[in-house]
Amino acid sequence: MSFADYIDIFGDNILHLLEQHVILFAIALAAAIAIGVTLGLLVYRFKTLDTLIVPVVNVLQACPEIVLLALAIPFLGIGISGALIPLFVKGVLPILRNTASGFASIDPRLLEAARGMGMSPAQILLRVEVPAVLPVVIAGVRISAVMLVSVLTLTAYIGVDSLGTLILQGISRMDATPLLIGSGLTALLAITVNYLLFGLERLASRRVS
């Protein structure tokens, strides 16, 4: 089937899968940011947690996605949570690492100046530390986001619709058209996300670097 025919017939379905993919992506990224930033802050504030948290995250990071999916099925079953929970984990590490190193790289004399002027710890966090680490954290988010866009195609293996569904279809039917449409849209999405976040990163670092 030619591209034109395929799009003519399955156009609505493609849009539906793209929409599903974006929704999955948004949820996974939000979760990865929440967990990544929290763990990053913990690791920075309590250095001993570093040896506890980082190896675990590293192992999860090194584990192939498909294995994570398979391992999660007995616990989470087949469906959205079974697909999202093992996969969003992939996005945590870059955010965690950038958050922790971003905070660690703030000049301690800057913090002392803030204390010396009578700022409270909360004021120092919000007015000094957060603006200083924001660009670094966003850089981590960008790496995670690009990774998550492509990793999420795997949800198709356990029956959760995403652009991966098209790819899987292409593979099982030996049909290049859905395969190319699925992977092309995934790549396009990844590139778009990358540039959007890159713009945000530039905006946040405009004043700092």
Partner: protein, 310 residues
């Protein structure tokens, strides 16, 4: 407004080491500059940071006006003390105006009052408000950043100013210029200023009094001229350097030692405000042992000898 700062038997000991500051007692009169000088690790920065309680003393007390700092809420204390450190102290993500406005904002001033104050301070430190208000620290030169640092410390009109190696990151030429600017600002604002430096020349230029410290102890506390004339021991003399008497002559003005006697008719003249060093060089240069002082009076080489020994 300025307040007297009184160190009463102040000690700071860290476990396992000799005290960083050992029973320090000295008074900084209201509206004067004290330069704390000494080698690295002598306790001068620790002394400074105990004033705004970034470091808590382990013994003794520091009294601001009538109030011991240990009795004051730490936030209120810090907001009434300006604090200047090397140029890294400016927040890079805040504009010049936002940096200066930090303490006034913490104190809850309204927008109009803050804006007016920012412009007033920028003018005071010699930066045009229109062109500098909205710039970011990284687009400023080291000297400009330091001036903004001083403006920020003065923002809420604090009675006391602490400066920790404020000019350490500047090149020698900028440094002297910014020092002069600080002195001219001080003539207008009359704050009590404690300034930490490892540079004896800077201490002599800026301090109304100089406190020399070594290993946590106060070695000598005197006016710059007295320190130059009579260094208490070899350590102080070494800090001053081999050109001690040249520094002394450059610190004193012609007006402070000249006599009212009329000078001979044909001798060269010097200004009353010129330094004795300049006058001395003029004598060497012209081969005369007496100079006429502009506006009447004379300066004889005898006067220089008296000045150098006090």
């Amino acid at each position: 407004m300025a307040l007297r700062v009184d160190f009463r038997d102040v000690t700071k000991a860290f476990p396992g080491t000799p005290p960083a500051v050992d029973r320090l007692s000295l008074t900084v009169e209201a509206g004067t500059i004290l330069a704390l000088v000494g080698p690295s690790g002598c306790g001068k920065t620790t002394t400074l940071k105990m004033v705004n309680r970034l470091i808590e003393p382990s013994g003794g007390d520091i009294v601001l006006g009538d109030a011991p700092v240990s009795q004051m809420p730490v936030k209120d204390l810090r907001r009434m003390i300006g604090y200047v450190i090397q140029y890294v102290g400016l927040f890079p993500h805040m504009s010049v105006a936002e940096n200066i406005a930090i303490v006034p904002r913490l104190l809850g001033w309204n927008r109009a009052r803050i804006d007016a104050r920012v412009d007033e301070l920028l003018t005071l430190v010699g930066l045009a408000p229109e062109t500098h208000r909205d710039r970011y620290p990284r687009s400023l030169s080291g000297g400009q950043q330091q001036r903004v640092g001083v403006a920020r410390a003065l923002a809420a009109d604090p009675p006391v100013l602490l400066m920790d190696e404020p000019f350490g990151a500047l090149d020698p030429i900028t440094r002297v210029r910014v020092q002069d600017e600080l002195l001219s600002i001080q003539r207008k604002v009359r704050k009590t200023i404690l300034i930490v430096t490892h540079d004896m020349d800077e201490a002599i230029r800026l301090g109304d009094k100089v406190a020399v410290m070594r290993a946590g102890r106060l070695v000598q506390h005197a006016s710059p001229v007295d320190i130059l004339r009579h260094p208490r021991d070899a350590f102080v003399a070494e800090l001053i350097g081999h050109d001690r008497l040249v520094k002394l002559l450059s610190t004193l003005s012609v007006g402070s030692v000249m006599s009212a006697d009329a000078a001979p008719a044909d001798v060269p003249a010097v200004a009353r405000t010129a330094s004795l060093e300049a006058a001395f060089l003029r004598m060497l240069d012209t081969g005369r042992d007496v100079l006429a002082v502009e506006g009447g009076g004379s300066l004889h080489i005898r006067d220089l000898l008296c000045a150098s020994t006090g």
